[in-house]
């Protein structure tokens, strides 16, 4: 989770990823940020995020994104 937070802060240093729970619903992240996050996460955690998983819920908070990564790693 720490690695994820570092990675997110590199992409958007102006956001507080530890506390923000409405990154998408609150219009804090745009689609370009999502593309960057997906690319970084795929490289860093060796997972493939399918398009169907790119939904607001999975990107609304760092914790939700972490849950997605763990789930994708478990699914192999």
């Amino acid at each position: 989770m720490e690695r994820l937070l570092e990675l997110l802060e590199e992409i958007r240093p102006d956001l507080d990823f530890e506390t923000c729970q409405d990154l998408i619903d609150g219009h804090h992240l745009n689609s370009l940020d999502i593309i960057s996050i997906v690319a970084e996460v795929e490289d860093a955690f060796d997972v493939t995020i399918p398009t169907v998983e790119v939904i607001p819920h999975n990107f609304n908070s760092a914790q939700n994104l972490w849950d997605l990564i763990v789930r994708l790693q478990e699914e192999g």
Partner: protein
């Protein structure tokens, strides 16, 4: 029946459907909703209802076909050896891709044929003439069924979601028919997803007084927006856009602002009627607007304006293109070459361009709509490029980007950019749009405004004051909504006498100030034409 604002809809179809829905048992309610939906479609588009029926039947069949292929694939995989699985999965995906391609070709092909063939063939002839060849392409002309641009996107999203395994194919043809043809969403959306509305519609919830009042209030609010503000501005906009060469730049600029206001009041008002109508039946359709003129950037504006179209393009064009294997590889290379910030900006611009070309074309088959799309692409792309620079500069100058003054400056800038885009959107062709923009730059004069001459162009002083007062009211309503206040629910919770007084005032306001009767021409909802 012309629209949701016609007496036939507001005084006949909607109340009759609600009444029948309220007094009949659950199983019959579904039939009433479906019959009312088809009656509405038939009343607006007549025999063109066959297109809706064809779309319904085809997505039902193709969905079941996909489902069958998925079930077969699962069964085969369960029995297969580990080393065979990869090949079997690829084979199954290929088959399913064939079905989804067929579905997309049928539906988008039908939309392209009916809506765009005139545009493509006309431009084809122009190209032939340019090449000194005879213009031999016949120019077709088709009648468009109501809402085809909206229900086609719903149909495609259903099929793609089944293909992706996000939803299961619906075996029930009537549930699918209701999802695709539900009358409050038919004319201007919102563009619903299957998982959002299909089951809720099929459950046909019991009518509740709370929903009845909330829905009725919202319908009234939508009718006021459309008839008091949007339709009132129509005469002025019509006269300036049709004879712009007689007006100075300031009048054209005012017309662009008025058109932006008209479009918002018209479209959001229609969506209020649509959502309010659905709420009467206890069905919550997705919101399509979230106070777009509070946006600080163009990108944010499109997250708040016509939300369901934006999310459709994002889910079915932007992400599939930008997350495809070749694009991911390109992004990875670009990140190494241009850095983690600019790399994705450059590569995602390919997907962004696809989205905005489609967005422009979706609105209409003319060059000014394509220009409108490219204009927003350029603004968003430029915004993404300069964002890090802006952050650097503001930090160096110790400017607080969350300070109210800075936020207001961003919001005003966004509104101006939106108005410029709407000028091209409304113009009668791209050439006229460019001429109008040029006239704004080269022929600017405040005299029509300062001398009051502007009131001779289809809008008098009281009209302008009324619109301004309503916009101030709307600003405070929006501000409260932005802060999470649910005004509709608060009103419903008030004692009866107070509610009746508010409803009475609102109805009187509509009757007195609505733009109808002598001197006004009924205006069809703008987005119904798309």
């Amino acid at each position: 029946m012309a629209s949701y604002f016609s007496p036939q809809y507001l005084a006949l179809l909607l109340p009759a459907s609600v009444l029948l829905y309220a007094i009949t048992p659950q199983r019959v309610r579904r039939v009433i909703l479906l019959l009312a939906s088809y009656l509405f479609f038939w009343a607006v588009s007549g025999s063109l209802i066959v297109f809706l029926l064809f779309s319904t039947l085809s997505i039902h069949h193709l969905g079941l076909w996909l489902d069958l292929l998925q079930q077969n694939s699962k069964a085969e995989l369960a029995q297969a050896e580990a080393d065979q699985r990869k090949a079997l999965k690829a084979k199954a995906k290929k088959q399913q891709r064939g079905v989804i391609l067929l579905g997309v070709v049928i539906h988008i092909g039908l939309l392209l044929t009916l809506k765009y063939s005139h545009f493509f063939f006309t431009n084809g002839n122009t190209l032939l003439r340019f090449l000194h060849m005879p213009a031999i392409l016949p120019i077709p002309s088709f009648l468009l069924p109501i809402g085809i641009s909206f229900y086609t996107l719903q149909a495609v999203s259903y099929l793609v979601d089944v293909y992706r395994g996000k939803i299961q194919a619906d075996k029930n043809l009537f549930r699918l028919a209701l999802f695709l043809g539900f009358f409050p969403q038919m004319m201007e959306g919102p563009i619903c997803r299957y998982e959002q509305t299909a089951q809720r519609l099929w459950e046909v919830p019991k009518m509740q007084w709370n929903n009845f009042f909330l829905g009725s209030q919202r319908i009234l609010w939508g009718v006021i927006k459309k008839m008091v503000v949007a339709d009132r501005l129509n005469m002025f906009i019509l006269s300036v856009f049709s004879g712009y060469d007689q007006y100075s730049g300031s009048v054209i600029a005012l017309a662009a602002v008025c058109y932006t206001v008209q479009l918002y009041m018209d479209f959001s008002g229609t969506i209020d009627v649509a959502l309010g109508s659905a709420q009467l039946f206890g069905v919550a359709l997705p919101e399509n607007f979230q106070r777009p003129f509070f946006s600080r950037t163009i990108s944010e504006f499109w997250q708040r304006w016509h939300i369901t179209l934006g999310t459709w393009f994002k889910d079915y064009i932007f992400y599939p293109v930008s997350m495809s294997k070749p694009m991911k590889n390109l992004t990875s290379k670009a990140r190494k070459r241009f850095g983690p910030r600019y790399g994705p900006v450059l590569t995602s611009s390919v997907a962004l361009l696809c989205v905005w070309l489609c967005n422009g074309l979706w609105h209409g088959s003319a060059w000014n709509y394509i220009f409108f799309g490219l204009y927003h692409f350029a603004l968003i792309f430029a915004g993404n490029l300069v964002q890090p620079l802006v952050i650097q500069i503001t930090e160096r100058l110790h400017i607080d980007r969350n300070h109210l003054a800075y936020r207001i400056m961003q919001t005003v800038r966004t509104c101006i950019l939106v108005c410029i885009g709407e000028l091209f959107f409304r113009a009668d062709g791209l050439r006229n749009g460019l001429k109008m923009a040029w006239r704004m730059v080269t022929n600017w004069s405040f005299s029509p405004i300062t001398t009051g001459n502007i009131f001779a162009y289809g809008m008098d002083g009281p009209d302008l004051i009324l619109v301004a007062v309503f916009l101030v009211l709307l600003f405070f309503v929006s501000l409260a909504q932005e802060r999470g206040v649910k005004l509709g629910e608060r009103l419903v919770a008030k004692p009866w006498p107070m509610r009746i007084a508010v409803y009475y005032i609102a109805i009187c306001f509509l009757v007195i100030f609505g733009a109808y009767g002598i001197g006004y021409v009924p205006v069809d909802p703008i987005y119904a034409g798309f």
